[in-house]
Symmetry: C2
Subunit: 312 residues, 2 copies
């Protein structure tokens, strides 16, 4: 398998899929829709919908029902960046080498574009209810297709909401923001809380929803939650490492910006060597879990390895 080529192809497919779910830029509220789509289309690795799609396939899923959830997850990820960049938060004017939403559309519209993306994520995921075949779960003997029940879609919505919310991503974000505003000296435990919630939670829900919507059993979904934890935390530590070691060209944001803002990172708590070791250890754990589930997905394993060796 030529991983880089495969990755490019798959990301491009994911991009096509999730773009279909964006709102059309017309109507009286056109500026809002433009600001939302600008934020959504400003690049990004599309890692979360890609992981969701791969776990869905790995667990045997073949239906369209996964698509609105892929788009919804990327909308949630995007809104969190839009609000994170606001002047009252990280006050960033650039992200991925492009102007942030408030830098282009103003602060008020950026707040609303973020709200709009979060709300539209749930609106979009709800479209899965119209895609499903019927009220009862089961296979259609004639077509051989598996149908996803309304109850199962409801369960996936619950995972989506919980991992994005106050006991997931927003919870981590709040602890991060509070520590920065009050210049609190975080210990390793609190920093891990931030990484687990702010970053890993959406990785977890991506993998869990993929498996769950494909009809996987509870053990499989729990395994995805564990793997998502390891991947998410490793990914964030790698981000902290890159912030110290990378260049502007590679990263698309000023180098050492975390350090400049006097922000506590995994590297500043544990040092560079220990941080690198932890990334490897966590990645190994994730790979172990993936190899243990019934259906192997070689691409997914390569993807996780690539996340720890990434240079940007």
């Amino acid at each position: 398998m030529d991983f880089d080529r495969e990755l490019k192809k798959k990301v491009s497919q994911v991009e096509e899929t999730i773009k279909k779910y964006l709102p059309k830029e017309d109507g009286v509220q056109k500026s809002l829709l433009e600001a939302m789509n600008y934020s959504f289309l400003a690049g990004g690795k599309r890692l979360r919908p890609l992981l969701m799609s791969e776990c869905y396939r790995m667990a045997g899923g073949t239906e369209e029902v996964i698509e609105p959830f892929m788009a919804a997850q990327e909308m949630i990820h995007t809104y969190s960046l839009v609000h994170d960049d606001l002047p009252a938060m990280d006050n960033d004017l650039y992200r991925r080498g492009k102007k942030t939403t408030h830098a282009v559309y103003g602060e008020a519209m950026a707040i609303l574009a973020g709200d709009g993306l979060l709300n539209y994520a749930f609106e979009t995921a709800c479209r899965a209810f119209s895609l499903k075949g019927g009220e009862e779960e089961g296979s259609d003997a004639a077509s051989g297709k598996q149908e996803c029940s309304a109850a199962r879609i409801g369960g996936a919505l619950k995972i989506l909401a919980e991992k994005a919310g106050i006991y997931g991503m927003i919870g981590g974000q709040a602890v991060d923001v509070e520590a920065e505003k009050r210049k609190l000296r975080l210990d390793g435990e609190k920093l891990l809380f931030i990484h687990v919630h702010k970053t890993a939670a959406l990785i977890q829900s991506s993998m869990m929803i993929g498996a769950y919507l494909a009809g996987a059993d509870e053990k499989f979904v729990q395994d995805m939650e564990k793997a998502g934890y390891a991947i998410g935390v490793a990914f964030q530590i790698q981000d902290d490492i890159l912030d110290i070691t990378s260049t502007l060209e590679e990263l698309g944001k000023p180098v050492g910006s975390d350090e400049k803002n006097d922000k506590l990172t995994y590297v500043s708590v544990y040092g560079l060597e220990r941080s690198k070791q932890d990334v490897e250890r966590l990645s190994d754990e994730a790979l172990e879990i993936l190899k243990s589930v019934s259906q192997r997905n070689e691409f997914l394993e390569e993807l996780i390895i690539s996340l720890i060796t990434r240079r940007k």
Copy 2:
């Protein structure tokens, strides 16, 4: 019927119900949860969950399934106020005579508390999936209870999300904000768009979800949408009228604050008399619709009348 006494009793019941769904204020992210609960408990008429509950009863509903939706709707309403009050938006330090969320917890935490409330609204509504009896809709012969199917809960979630989103409340909010920031001179049509979306949309979804979850047919739900339109717009025009004519004591915010901010209102476009007539006309329309549905609800009719004669 002693309406005032009945209203007080019902609002107090609604208050008890929706408070049960608030997050407990503990954990590492405690400050976030405190800011959310502060915003939610800072008073308010609880009009939306009250309307939802009344329409549910009117359409024959008797189950607990309505409760998480009542709480979710009030969370959505609350988050919209928290974000609306932010410095980049209306920049208000007081609401209902109390300090606004950012005035107490700071701007960053207010942004996150709003995000948290919006996300938690969907998390809360998803709890309805666990309350329901089974996958199939129908009555339980032994208990005589109606069970709400997962598909029906999914449909209610869709209404909740759509009316709160970019084609509902956030859409109206965006047009309002854009007009203010650019000092655009709005015409009556655009102002109506704002009132219909920013205010009426959540009134509509409250009434529609109430009827829908009780198992009402399509015509009934559409009637609720029409009535909610009339009530919502009348309510907002009455708000504009009160802003001109009321006193600080009655309203809990500076009198004429809209005028001071040079904000276009229904009164400044159409004049006080025409505005008063339109409130009456719209209220009559709403009452007509309510009287036409099979099950009359006297309290609901009185409630709508009270909304047009309110002094604050």
